[in-house]
């Protein structure tokens, strides 16, 4: 009975188009939130990977190198280098700063040894006033970057190096970081090392990359939880829209269903016809949502990185939502007494 379903959709095309637009918008918001949530995980992965370390040494009692770093003398790196199983180790300092270029905003500053273990590869910069800036700052190579009032020259651009929910990272020399956030003292907040230590120097805790990632994700955990909740609410809203449209359609088509049943159309076919409308609505809404998401993502203030799996899962979820949401209307359609056809 596809003929009846398709014709009915064409018949009610304005309402159907509004429903597709509304549901598509809701799905697009859900996709954008998925992308933002995924970007929180991705930035953590990229940031930790940029150090190229196997182990992170922080002061004993610290949960991680990023969330609440405690400073210790950078010279302690010698004790780490001396550990059996460690091949390379260098001190790093993670501090916060404010930039005014190109506009006022917070940045994460990582002080590292150029060419050593850390996010400053060999030759990336040479001077204490050099910096690698994340592209989300909107700067180009050669631009001047102001950090806490001190001028730096951008020598390289990194991509996706953010943490704490999209705050851009600037990599400077360890010395510059000490000047910016550690009172110019020869301190470090972590030692990053390659290799697997078989023991620990006193006063240190060693963390794996996974443990560092957990530490980095802690400040955004609540935001992710909220996003997850909002995403569920959006799914419910989408289900509500589809459900309302299908139920309204079932209400208006009561006589039609009665007639169809009376003239020998099976209840199964009547049900399939109604479900097919809900499914079509959901699929078209998904298509619209993907287009809207692609168009809107670049305009978002935060990085939106929708996982491919979300694009693939959305139609399936939408189908499930469509079928589930149409159950109320379906129930009504199934219960229509064909005798109504005589009475109207």
């Amino acid at each position: 009975m596809w003929l009846v379903s398709v014709r009915d959709l064409i018949w009610r095309r304005r309402r159907f188009a509004i429903a597709v637009a509304a549901t598509g918008l809701v799905f697009a918001l859900a996709l954008l939130l998925s992308g933002i949530s995924a970007s929180f995980d991705n930035e953590i992965e990229r940031t930790t990977a940029s150090f190229g370390a196997d182990r992170w040494f922080v002061a004993a009692g610290n949960f991680g190198p990023f969330t609440a770093p405690s400073a210790f003398p950078a010279s302690r790196v010698r004790a780490v280098r001396a550990l059996p199983g460690i091949t390379e180790a260098d001190p790093v300092a993670m501090v916060s700063a404010t930039t005014t270029t190109p506009r006022k905003r917070s940045v994460n500053v990582i002080g590292a040894v150029p060419g050593g273990v850390g996010p400053a590869p060999e030759g990336s910069f040479t001077e204490e006033t050099d910096a690698l800036a994340d592209d989300s700052l909107g700067l180009d190579v050669g631009d001047t970057l102001s950090l806490n009032g001190a001028a730096f020259t951008v020598r390289g651009i990194t991509h996706g190096r953010t943490y704490f929910a999209g705050i851009p990272t600037v990599v400077v020399s360890l010395r510059a970081a000490q000047r910016l956030g550690l009172g110019e003292r020869p301190l470090a907040t972590a030692i990053v090392a390659r290799g697997t230590p078989r023991s620990l120097p006193s006063g240190f805790t060693a963390l794996t990359n996974s443990e560092v990632a957990v530490d980095l994700s802690r400040p955004v955990a609540q935001a992710k939880q909220t996003i997850s909740l909002v995403r569920w609410l959006l799914w419910i809203v989408a289900a509500g829209i589809i459900g309302a449209i299908v139920y309204l359609s079932a209400l208006e088509r009561t006589t039609e269903f009665a007639v169809l049943k009376a003239i020998g159309v099976s209840t199964r076919d009547v049900a399939l016809g109604l479900i097919s409308q809900a499914v079509l609505l959901a699929i078209l809404a998904v298509a619209l949502a993907i287009l809207l998401e692609i168009a809107a993502a670049p305009a978002a203030a935060m990085s939106v990185e929708v996982p491919v799996v979300s694009y693939l899962a959305l139609p399936l979820l939408a189908l499930a939502v469509g079928v589930l949401a149409s159950s109320l209307g379906l129930r009504r359609a199934l219960r229509v007494d064909p005798a109504l056809a005589f009475g109207s």
Partner: protein, 330 residues
């Protein structure tokens, strides 16, 4: 269409709840219609015509009796047999046409064909042939909103004939038509019995009687007793008439008291009114030719006088002393 069928109903009784009350619009009805005959179910609104059609369409299950179309017992059909019967054995023309507004005339006719598994092309060809047969070849792409009442009715008839059923049911086919449209629709209905089909038409329109091979009066039988006055002596507790009985006379209480009683679906009774000397009751059923909607029982030993509506009206006019009290429409 299959070999000539025979429609046979014995003791059909239909009962349903209406609020708290049980209504029995069809009670013990017998009917026989042979293939090639047009039967007319004639009667006023509410007399059970549509109810009987619903039984014959296997849409309503009677509480008693049997209805057979050829070898098929209609009243016990379930599941796929029921769908199969509705699809292939019976075609229905509804009172309000009940065409699907989103479909064209041709697509409306195609619905039962596609439901029966015909291909799109075969369904289209059959639908267009039927529309041509019903004189609507040039209207096949029009939607119901663009068709006149008579045209809609003919599309509905074409839809009912789509799978060439041996039984065609038409519910008040002239109800929404002007006199020009009525003529062509009746002509069409009459022509449908030519190939051995049974056509059962419900109507209150007595102009259709000459078309019928068989007329079934569905309204309660009202004997012609113009000015006859009937006096009835009742003993306390005796029923003068019961709920569901045919209504023929209007009664006036001469002596004693009568109570109007309605039976509820749960078997209990509701006393609607008490009627004393000089008051009348039970006027609606004989005037409108319907069944009694409540019973009348003597509350004490009583004497009542029964008058036909004509006699009652004449007497009321002459005396002008009757006072009408609040009473139920028994």
């Amino acid at each position: 269409m299959e070999a000539e069928a025979h429609l046979s109903c014995r003791g059909i009784a239909v009962e349903y709840r209406s609020g708290d009350y049980l209504v029995r619009p069809v009670d013990g009805l017998d009917l026989d219609v042979s293939g090639g005959e047009l039967a007319l179910l004639l009667g006023a609104s509410g007399c059970g015509k549509t109810t009987l059609l619903s039984v014959l369409a296997a849409i309503l299950r009677p509480v008693g009796g049997s209805a057979r179309l050829g070898p098929t017992e209609i009243t016990t059909l379930t599941g796929s047999a029921l769908t199969e019967y509705r699809r292939h054995k019976v075609g229905i023309v509804f009172q309000s046409f009940n065409l699907i507004p989103s479909l064209t005339a041709s697509e409306n006719v195609q619905v039962p064909l596609r439901a029966a598994g015909r291909s799109g092309r075969a369904a289209r060809e059959r639908a267009d042939a039927l529309l041509e047969q019903t004189g609507l070849a040039d209207r096949r792409r029009h939607r119901p909103d663009d068709l006149s009442g008579g045209q809609k009715q003919r599309v509905a008839i074409a839809r009912a004939l789509a799978l060439d059923p041996p039984l065609l049911l038409a519910d008040e086919p002239t109800a929404h038509l002007d006199y020009i449209q009525v003529e062509s629709v009746l002509e069409l209905l009459r022509s449908l019995v030519a190939d051995g089909r049974i056509v059962v038409v419900s109507t209150h329109d007595e102009r259709m009687i000459p078309l019928a091979d068989r007329v079934v009066a569905m309204s309660p039988h009202t004997p012609a007793r113009e000015d006859q006055i009937t006096r009835v002596d009742l003993t306390a507790g005796q029923f003068l008439f019961r709920q569901g009985d045919p209504g023929d006379l209007i009664y006036t209480v001469e002596d004693g008291q009568v109570e109007i009683v309605r039976e509820r679906a749960d078997g209990s009774e509701e006393i609607l009114a008490r009627i004393g000397p000089g008051d009348y009751f039970g006027e609606l059923a004989p005037i409108f030719g319907t069944r009694r909607s409540a019973g009348a029982r003597a509350l004490s030993d009583a004497r009542v006088v029964g008058l036909t509506p004509v006699a009652f009206r004449r007497r009321a006019k002459s005396s002008r002393t009757q006072t009408q009290h609040d009473r139920p429409p028994a």
